[in-house]
């Protein structure tokens, strides 16, 4: 065997050994530390008087005495934050944390967070109802169903925080549609053509009784309940006969709705998977 023939063989040995060492090195670097995190899912449900909503049935009576039905509910929540018992807080999923919920689309009713969440005891959960001014930009969502929530530019732009559509029996006993919609409000210099300023109506919700423990490797599911009757009763008794079927251009009415919205959500028993 001459020298010229031996050289390629040596080269092959060198490559083979180098490969073995390289992969061995990779293996030694990938020793995973002990996991310290779990996962969280929010499940959204919608109730009236503590019972799941029966849609399109004029069976409900609000605090003002209006008989009403609910046809559909669509809304955004964002900036979900967990408050740890050690005093720290954790904003989940950062900029990806705007979640759309639609009573007609079951797949939207579970919000599964991407972030791994450190184990421990959490005192409460809070979120923004709607979308903060910093994030609420037009054409941020180009795909449906989120894009169907757009809020017209001339009314402030961005997206509806809420569409709660239904009907009530008006003073003439007619079924009258209501579009209980929340988003950016307007202060008019000259109605309806001249807006002097816009009002950000998004608000923080701190879920009462939302403490939970999260163990390592566990997926915790928290039921977040929208108690629809509270949109119309506390602290402001909301009378559809007074406010009519549409409120997107009535900031004083949206302000009442915002105050009522603070008390709309509750958390229910944790379930474990």
């Amino acid at each position: 065997m001459d020298k010229l023939f031996r050289q390629p063989i040596q080269l092959l040995y060198f490559i083979a050994f180098a490969g073995v060492f390289a992969f061995t090195g990779c293996g030694s670097k990938t020793n995973n530390p002990e996991p310290t995190t779990g996962k969280l899912t929010l499940h959204f449900s919608h109730k009236i008087d503590s019972e799941p909503i029966v849609f399109d049935d004029m069976r409900y009576v609000n605090a003002a005495g209006n008989h009403y039905l609910v046809n559909e509910i669509q809304y955004f929540i964002s900036d979900v934050t967990l408050y740890h018992s050690n005093g720290t807080s954790l904003l989940l999923d950062q900029w990806e944390d705007i979640h759309y919920v639609d009573t007609d689309l079951p797949e939207t009713q579970d919000y599964i967070f991407k972030d791994e969440i450190p184990q421990g005891t959490y005192d409460s959960i809070s979120f923004t109802f709607g979308i903060s001014e910093e994030k609420n930009h037009s054409l941020m969502f180009v795909n449906p169903p989120e894009s169907f929530m757009f809020w017209p530019e001339n009314l402030g732009g961005g997206y509806h925080y809420l569409k709660l559509n239904g009907k009530w029996l008006n003073e003439l006993d007619q079924a009258a549609p209501f579009n209980f919609h929340l988003g950016i409000g307007q202060i008019y210099f000259s109605y309806p053509d001249s807006v002097s300023s816009f009002v950000q109506n998004y608000f923080r919700v701190i879920l009462p009784a939302s403490a939970f423990n999260l163990a390592v490797g566990e997926t915790k599911s928290v039921e977040v309940i929208m108690n629809v009757e509270n949109w119309f009763q506390s602290p402001n008794i909301y009378n559809h006969n007074t406010h009519g079927g549409d409120i997107m251009q009535k900031q004083h009415v949206m302000a009442l709705a915002v105050e009522n919205g603070w008390n709309v959500f509750t958390a229910n028993t944790m379930t474990y998977k």
């Binding site: 001459d2 010229l4 023939f5 390629p8 399109d56 046809n71 559909e72 037009s138 054409l139 180009v142 795909n143 449906p144 894009s147 169907f148 757009f150 809020w151 017209p152 530019e153 001339n154 009314l155 732009g157 997206y159 559509n165 239904g166 009907k167 008006n170 003439l172 007619q174 079924a175 009258a176 549609p177 209501f178 579009n179 919609h181 309806p192 053509d193 079927g245 549409d246 409120i247 997107m248 251009q249």
Partner: protein, 380 residues
Amino acid sequence: MKNKIVNTVVLILVFWFSGCTNKSTITPYVPTPYEIEIPFGFPTILNIPADNPMTVEGVELGRYLFYDGRFSGRTHPDSLMSCATCHRQERSFEAGVDHPGFPGGFPHGITGIPTPHAMLPMINLVWNTTGYGWNGLLYPTNPDPDARNIEDFVRMAALAPHEVNGDTTRIKNLFQTIPGYPELFEKAFGSKTITFTNIGKAIAQFARTLISANSKFDQYMHGEVQLSQPELNGYMLFTTEDGGDCFHCHGGFGNPLFTTHLFYNNGKDTVFNDIRDRFVITGDPMDHGAYKATTLRNIEVTGPYMHDGRFTTIEEVIDFYSTGVLSSPSISPLMHHVNNGGIRLTPQEKADLLSFIRTLRDDEFMTNPKFGKPEKFPDE
């Protein structure tokens, strides 16, 4: 010795690649992917079935088939009918009230049987994910695999007595005999043997390229032009609840499709006995009298309007929404002006709203040669 080694390696490589070549004597089927350009603000999710990817060759073939009257499966000049017989480019691929063969824009089939509904827009279909047809009878998750997408619409149109009244075997056999078509099918689908499934796929591919997104309003969205004061006034009416409140169903800046592709009872009637409304699909009583909200793009030229074509002009439609809306248990809650009979526009407001709606007209689309009739067919 070194040369021997090199020669040996070269020989091995030559045999290796020769072997590969010998195994494949057929020209490989390699169509060219067709990329759909997403216009500004349009959805990025497209309704393209996995078994019919868009290709340049498929679109080209689809365009020929779309315009070829032999789609009827017949060759006598009096028996020709193609998609383009009803879907005219200059009317945004609808018939239009001035259609020379269909008075008032009401099409009928090759045997004279009227189509049961007025025509729907045939533009921007690739963004329709909720269902095709006035009641959405064709939708991607339909348990019936033959009722899911545009491909199925092609077959339905070929068979329906009120349309082509044809026979799919006869149609594909006819195209098989026409010089040039088998070669086009081979380029598009890898086989010269023509199937009706591939006819449907090719026409559906062409249909998905019919994108209208260059109206004056689009140019306004891009900051290229300014709207006139009447157009701006109309836009304000379009996008406000106290105005016309059109945007919740028909879109706007944030939804430039100018439709949600959803289904609404918009208050045209109080008695519902149409066997083709949305209720027939869902069984939901709230869907009695509900139909798809059509896109308003090019709406100016696509009369007659509503599912039954009851209105000839846009002015009549605006009058209806102004004072003609009727209440019923299934009326959409979005029709919140119903107990006033509608949105109660003044004559000036009606004119302004019409001015805005006219900004949605896309003449470039309606004259673009790449969507028009081919200069000649494959056998010419």
